[in-house]
């Protein structure tokens, strides 16, 4: 078998039982790996109504068929589970070098369930897996744990936030790479699983080296030709977006009450580059190298989303403060978008404006689940609801919105509303076509044509998450190139259409999981703030009638009924054997 190892390890933490499960070609062909494989396992193994933080929840860690090859941006893997933050199915994609190492050890994935009696970590050395005592690591944050365990291999771990059940706790790997957003670190913590350490000697073989070489060069050529990947992300990291998004007047400011921050320049990519000596810290096999850190201190440069949430949304104009908040979140293992957005919600609700020290103290209190941090660690939805102000939580399906005001990017608005994991930009990054003109510039202030476009891009992103390669490469590289290189690696013929169909299959299973958890079309919406007709922000608001008409059209494109439920015909077409 090329591309895959053909097996996952199933680990029962309650019984300390480890089984190796072979994977047939059919499941690998239909779901690829990464997000797809994880979603398939979670749908099959997690019963409806399961408490996300109970031993019955399952956590899947999975790499894809391209992970661990030399294919550009292929250092990725996914963690998939039921989210304690949203209650939806949830996949988190991460870079770094943990995913490739898992492949080198001989596994495509790990299926983790039950709950260890005491804190443990899992050690994998090539084909050998053991469960080790981790009392001495419990209570430590991610930097210390990673440092402690990294002599034994690549480390994925949780910090104190994951141990304490912060609903947006991350799984961290390689110090700064995150499986972020939905609180899968808390799922790991609920299983008393502190870390996974993996080391492998194997190297991934490619089926057809000649074709692989050609397709590799095709991808590299496209990455170089695109200014977004070769200049923007490479020169500034994702912080390249701060000035651009502010210029477009879609930078969330003061918890989305405004969409333009007059001090944005102070937290921009340009400001970072002129203030610090920067060095690149790329993920495995990534020529884009958007991940960066300060040369001397190795302090990580925050991502755009982090800057927008801790910066403009909390009205903080000190990049140093944002960097410290980011570092704290990485230390505790917490999602920066939800942490920043929840604090922004708290600021609006209380009318406070934080000083630097105060903001950092709140972040720390969230990580410790102490004082006000106890409430905020539940996320903005639960916090705002507890204070009878649900409208102040800027979220979809319980997940806080990232750094783009949907009133000025209507395709993304539809993408937020229909995302299976809640308010997320990465299910269909419409900033590509609506701002960067990739693959084609479309009118960002119109819903026209967006329903079809959004669902195709959602399918493509789902497939890409399952390969598993980086979504940033999609600014330059399309489904055709990915299908070509996947065919060369695996020896199985994939074409653009088959990749998109795989993405659609996975998307529909995610939808079915959420329907099983009682989500319905009423959840495919946006916070009321965006529909308000009082002039909106910068004269923009979203016309609800138009939005609902576009949503219906989206359902039709998806082959779902008017209530957003996949039809029997659609499921049969996608070879999903559940009705």
């Amino acid at each position: 078998m090329f591309g895959w190892n053909g097996k996952v390890a199933s680990i029962d933490l309650t019984e300390r039982k480890i089984d190796v499960i072979p994977l047939g070609k059919a499941i690998l062909h239909d779901y690829l790996g990464g997000r797809g494989l994880g979603v398939k396992f979670i749908f099959d193994l997690v019963k409806p109504g399961t408490d996300a933080l109970s031993p019955e929840n399952v956590l899947v860690i999975a790499a894809g068929p391209l992970t661990g090859t030399t294919c550009p941006t292929s250092g990725r893997f996914a963690a998939v589970s039921k989210s304690p933050l949203t209650g939806t199915i949830f996949d988190s994609n991460s870079g770094g070098d943990f995913g490739p190492e898992l492949k080198f050890a001989g596994f495509d994935g790990l299926v983790l369930y039950g709950k260890a009696e005491k804190p443990v970590y899992i050690q994998i050395v090539d084909d050998e897996i053991s469960i080790e005592e981790a009392n001495y690591l419990w209570g430590k944050n991610t930097r210390e744990v990673t440092r402690e365990l990294s002599k034994m291999g690549k480390v994925a771990c949780i910090g104190r936030a994951g141990e304490k059940g912060v609903r947006f706790a991350n799984i961290m790997n390689g110090y700064t790479h995150t499986c972020g957003r939905g609180g899968l670190g808390a799922v790991m913590g609920s299983k008393n699983l502190k870390a996974i350490v993996v080391k492998g000697k194997k190297r991934m073989q490619v089926f057809d080296r000649e074709r692989y070489k050609k397709y590799f060069q095709d991808i590299m050529r496209l990455l170089v030709a695109s200014p977004v990947s070769s200049k923007g992300l490479s020169e500034y990291g994702t912080a390249v977006l701060v000035n651009l998004i502010n210029y477009m007047k879609i930078l969330p400011t003061a918890n989305f009450r405004l969409s333009h921050f007059h001090l944005a320049e102070e937290i921009s990519g340009e400001k970072i580059n002129s203030t610090f000596a920067i060095r690149k810290a790329p993920c495995y096999a990534c020529p884009i190298a958007c991940k960066r850190e300060v040369k001397d201190t190795r302090m990580e440069i925050p991502e755009y989303e982090t800057i927008s949430m801790f910066g403009s949304s909390c009205r903080i104009s000190s990049i140093q403060t944002v960097m410290k908040a980011n570092r704290l979140c990485n230390e505790y293992g917490m999602d920066t978008i939800t942490a920043g957005s929840t604090i922004a919600c708290y600021l609006e609700l209380t009318g406070k404006q934080p000083e630097e020290e105060e903001l950092l103290r709140w972040v720390e209190l969230i990580g410790e689940r102490k004082d006000i941090g106890q409430e905020l660690s539940e996320g903005s939805v639960r916090y705002a609801l507890a204070h009878n102000k649900p409208g102040l939580s800027m979220q979809v399906k319980g997940l806080e919105l990232p750094g783009y005001d949907p009133r000025g990017v209507l395709g993304l608005a539809l993408g937020y509303a229909t995302s299976n994991r809640g308010g997320c930009h990465l299910r269909a990054y419409m900033i590509g076509p609506e701002i960067f003109g990739k693959p084609k510039l479309v009118n960002r202030l119109s819903f026209s044509g967006k329903s079809g476009l959004v669902q195709v891009i959602q399918n493509l992103f789902t497939a890409v998450d399952s390969l598993a390669v980086c979504k940033f490469a999609l600014f330059s590289v399309g489904e055709e190139e990915w299908a070509n290189i996947l065919s060369a690696v695996t020896g199985i013929d994939f074409v653009s259409e088959s990749l998109l169909e795989i993405g659609e299959r996975i998307w529909n299973i995610e939808r079915l999981f959420n329907i099983r958890e009682k989500f319905n079309s009423k959840d495919d919406t946006l916070p009321e703030r965006f529909f308000q007709e009082d002039g909106g922000v910068n004269g923009r608001n979203i016309n609800k009638e138009e939005f609902l008409a576009t949503l219906l059209e989206y359902y039709r494109f998806r082959g779902w009924d008017s209530t957003g439920i996949p039809t029997k015909e659609k499921l049969e077409q996608l070879n999903i054997g559940i009705c």
């Binding site: 000035n243 651009l244 340009e270 960067f436 990739k438 510039l441």
Partner: protein, 189 residues
Amino acid sequence: MWREISKFGKKMVECGLTHSHFGNISVRIGNKLIITRSGSMLDEIDENMVVEVDLDKPSSFDTLASSETIVHRQIYKETSGLAIIHAHSPFAIVQSMISNSDLLVPTDCESKYFLHEIPIISGGVGSKELAQNAANALKDHKGAIIKEHGSIAIGKIVEEAFVTICSIEHACRVKYFADLILRKRDRSK
């Protein structure tokens, strides 16, 4: 300034010098350049479809600009041009593929007078190599052909660059048909 760019963008598409969202146009104003955005169509340019970037230092706004911004920037730095047009004109591309030389000598009277000779340069899309080769070529030529890619021309105003782009395409088209007929005639002898 976007109106000037828009006017000649439309003309380029009408004349078949470029299609879809290929090609780009820029104008230099002091140490700034206004350039068409990546992914825009040249016959649909409005004020939102151009972006202003610095001539000297790249910024985050480069990511919105045409992927050939690096080439435009280098040309402005090394020539006196104040406007640049890049087209994916078909006969220029064909000639670059069949020519064995790095100079194309026009065969028609007007092009001989106007262009003298047209350099054929190489380099990948948006690459430093192409940027430098184009800047070198345009120091002493009005326009150049980029191998397998299209044509590029400078002017003091957009119209002047447009005239050169049209001339290059005209020269390539005439030469193509003339060579074709001459080859046929040679074969029949």
